[in-house]
Symmetry: C2
Subunit: 576 residues, 2 copies
């Protein structure tokens, strides 16, 4: 059976050589301390996280009279995660966090997520909720809730979805009525579904961020406000009090992420549920979006991180499994698939870490906030979808053993799939990408990134001629596809624009990933001149990743472009 | 919740209008009787098969001291399947079967398979084993086993795989030693793994076809013989006797097909297992291939049939689910995905039924046996893989609900995945396709099919110009890819040939599917002149299927070709 392994060398190459994250001097990290933290984190993941993965999947969650019980092995892990400071990594100092470069924080979170994604959602959502409290909460919130969450005593969730309001959040029915004589407090009433970590016994109290409509709230998203709703009421001294009338009535049986409790939560069945308004009234959606944007990048990371681990386990398997008198990695077909998996997983890593680093870059140059805007839907959609595909290939390479639960490989397929759905389906990401991130500014930011790509391409020497040619072709067809979309947008043929979004996101993503792998290949080539033999073996793989990605994956971006431009009729005219 | 529904109109259009299966006059079926049988079969599937699907998945199988127990609801279903004559459909008259056109038989099996694939494997493998007995068995086999199997009293399996011999069957360790004084009988010893239906209580006795090596059998596949090994010994009067020392020691926990027992079978632990040689000694592999070829087409059908049902359920869902004040089918992105799913599922149906019909055509013209040779790996690999992709899209269209087990959609993803692995992984299919079906005759049969495609294309009128252009481009790139492969084969660069096989199979499959959908579109267009309004609505969808397939799916074949020709180095030169 394969053992836990991460691609440490590639993570460090991205952080130290490509992104050079120690340039963000405010954190006081040099390349060596970056390496030390990655090694420490990797040890933690190997020893504490990975061993819980399959067992917690088998256990699932249990709904009891006293609430949801999670897999027993997660208690120890979760405790260690906080105690060893991994939760605090990257948090601001004023709430007892340990500030660190965003790229490093992302790399550590990716390691932990990949090794047990279902568990990672408990601290993950907690962090998202806490960030909202920290950023828009008043002193009461900051003093009462944030410290308890930082210490791992309390957990957090985000409660958007209702049965009739999935993607269409504005349609929600949950209500919040002001409580007379209790400034800031509202009676909350409603049922939320698909609430990840909605109830669990990992934390003493669960703090829900709940979207609901106040009496004056108009229909749609603009009438929605956000509330902090604890499971147990909080006494004046900050201890937990009586129940706050929040009840988990059901947990979903799902394809995967079995260890993550996906709950139906009833708020205020006995009219005793109280919530505290966070941020301004009617600004619920924009405040929730702080959490949503983070969650979208987390989704991408779920795809990227699990795909990377799936690749590592598969790499071991094909190097050990003998068929036809040789390890199966020596069969051309298997080898090529592994190379494609590696190029894709490393490609996904490169965009996830690049995007994380942009949060630091944006302190120096505001334009990078626009880059983040463009890259967020790409990371969410592309990394979840391609991560899923890599997991499917991992099963395939394992043959019949991959299909058996024992090997833990099929779990990746089941666990990643949700990432293409939640936090806005990938279809919705594509609409956000084209409508809000491209068409809104007439493609200005998109063109800016394209220009950067062209600049990087000028550094390609002639030994990269196939890669350059493929990339040029892809850029050309992307341009035509964009013009096609822009023309139809101008003439208000929105059906044609909307039916083109997903393909346009995919082809753009292929180009962005190729760009990041090109940058890696160029850095690797440069480093090679002074590298020792062992380093050279790794650096050589970066050239191969770039070649394999462009010839095997990027090639499909041309098909995406063709799929856009050759469908000149609005699909609404067709009968299903 | 969506209800069972099949695309009856499209099935009948394929059988009666495109393939005109009543031309096979020996069966005495006209278009009306074809329709009657499809309607009857569909009723059976709706009332008896589909209701067992989710429950049997939840139950899984249970390994007890007395053997494997399957889900209780399968007993009634299996009994009805035999009693109502569905098992006998398509079997020869001399063994009490009901001969019918192969296309019709395939269409009926597809309906049943799609609605509960895990169950379908019990009678499916039984049929495969029985066909071998019927075709190469001697009178003892034919008289003793075949009637019991036809009546549904006994079931059958195929036992190839061992722990160290998966794809590499020739490496197997199972042995067969002649029993003195008992002509034809051998002591069987060995352990087989991944045996589908390996043990179960659906049948009174399980008859295993086991590959094993006799004392004189040389190493590799050429030293292997095939044996009939019943679970219970068979008395002279044909009743079941004592145990034959065949024991199921383990059932696998798998990603999907939970209701299908995947067994580890120990033969002869107590040296009391007796098997009867079937066919000649050392001809085990070629006799097993009778069953294997059938099983490969079944795999394709598993992908095709489940994808078709997944599409039908999804079509209902998107027409009912309201988000943003309208049924989600009215969102361009959702609609386009549904159209892509339909084009693919109907495309897969068209190649599955076309290939089935070739078995009848081959009685009139032998060349169609070569077509079957080419189409078998295509059906197996492409239909299982694309069927899987359609199932993934079905989950996606269902959003969060698709990820929950309750809706039964994620089960398609889990259930289809195995079809890309067993009966020869898709990678192995691709090697068979290129090495044995294309390069062996210098692409003669492949060129013949290409010529047929070109002939069909001449019938395209100018309203199909986009489709024609896309198809022409695909054929052109296929030609270059084939030349690239042939050139490297000639210069013995087999690594490059082998690393190109899968992409070449995929692009060929895209072209073949486009061809069948083109034929359908042309037939539909012709029929339209005399069709009533209701019929026209359906016929119109056939034109759309062709357009969507070529612009959205076939477009990717160019990328496959490019992936082949742009990787000019042998991947074995790269370090993993």
């Amino acid at each position: 059976m394969a053992v836990y392994k991460s691609d440490q060398q590639d993570i460090l190459f991205n952080l130290n050589d490509v992104l050079n994250i120690s340039q963000h001097e405010q954190y006081g990290f040099d390349a060596t301390s970056v390496k030390e933290i990655i090694i420490e984190c990797d040890k933690f993941v190997e020893n504490e996280v990975f061993p819980t993965r399959q067992k917690s999947d088998e256990f699932g969650v249990e709904l009891t009279d006293s609430g949801v019980k999670v897999s027993p092995n997660l208690h120890k892990l979760n405790k260690a995660f906080y105690e060893m400071g991994w939760y605090a990594l990257g948090m601001p100092e004023n709430i007892d966090g340990s500030p660190a470069p965003e790229g490093l924080v992302a790399a550590c979170r990716s390691l932990a997520t990949g090794a047990n994604v279902a568990w990672s959602m408990y601290p993950g959502l907690t962090k998202g909720a806490m960030n909202v409290m920290h950023l828009v909460g008043d002193d009461y919130i900051k003093n009462t809730y944030v410290p308890k969450i930082m210490s791992g005593t309390w957990g957090g969730t985000m409660c958007l979805t209702e049965a009739g309001a999935g993607s269409d959040v504005g349609n929600l029915k949950a209500t919040a009525a002001p409580i007379e004589g209790k400034e800031g407090w509202y009676k909350i009433k409603g049922t939320k579904i698909f609430i990840s970590s909605g109830d669990n016994d990992l934390y003493e109290n669960n703090i829900h961020l709940v979207l609901a409509r106040t009496p004056e709230g108009e229909a749609g998203t603009r009438g929605i406000s956000l509330f902090v709703v604890p499971k147990l009421r909080v006494n004046e001294d900050g201890t937990c009090g009586v129940t706050n009338d929040v009840n988990c009535t059901q947990v979903e049986h799902k394809m995967g992420i079995h260890a993550s409790a996906t709950c139906v939560l009833n708020f205020g069945d006995a009219n005793e549920c109280e919530g505290y308004l966070i941020g301004k009234e009617f600004e619920g959606m924009q405040n929730m979006f702080i959490m949503m944007n983070e969650a979208r990048l987390d989704c991408g990371m779920q795809g990227e991180s699990q795909a990377n681990l799936a690749y590592e386990l598969t790499k071991q398997y094909v190097q050990e499994r003998v068929q036809f008198n040789t390890e199966i990695v020596n069969h051309a077909d298997v080898k090529k698939n592994l190379l494609k998996m590696r190029a894709m997983t490393r490609g996904l890593r490169s965009i996830i870490l690049y995007t994380a680093d942009l949060f630091d870059q944006a302190h120096k140059d505001e334009k990078y906030n626009d880059y983040i805007g463009i890259l967020t839907p790409i990371c969410k959609s592309f990394a979840s979808e391609q991560g899923f595909n890599v997991a499917v290939e991992a099963v395939q390479a394992h043959g019949g053993y991959g299909y058996c639960s024992e090997y833990g490989v099929e779990q990746f397929v089941r666990d990643i799939k949700i990432a293409t759905i939640y936090e806005g389906t990938n279809g919705i990401q594509a609409i956000d990408f084209v409508m809000r991130k491209i068409l809104k500014d007439q493609g200005a930011v998109f063109q800016q990134i394209s220009k950067e790509i062209l600049t990087t391409m000028t550094r390609l020497t002639d030994d990269f001629s196939i890669e350059r040619e493929t990339l040029q072709k892809a850029l050309g067809t992307a341009q035509s596809a964009m013009e096609f979309i822009a023309t139809h947008a101008k003439s208000k043929k929105m059906g044609i624009v909307l039916q083109s979004c997903k393909d346009f996101l995919d082809l753009s993503a292929h180009i962005v990933v190729s760009w990041r792998l090109m940058e890696s290949a160029l850095v690797a080539k440069e480093k090679m001149t002074s590298a020792n033999d062992e380093e050279k073996v790794y650096l050589e793989t970066k050239l191969v990743d770039f070649k394999i990605y462009t010839t095997q994956h990027l090639a499909h971006s041309v098909a995406c472009a063709r799929a856009i431009t050759s469908l000149t009729e609005d699909v609404s005219s067709y009968t299903l």
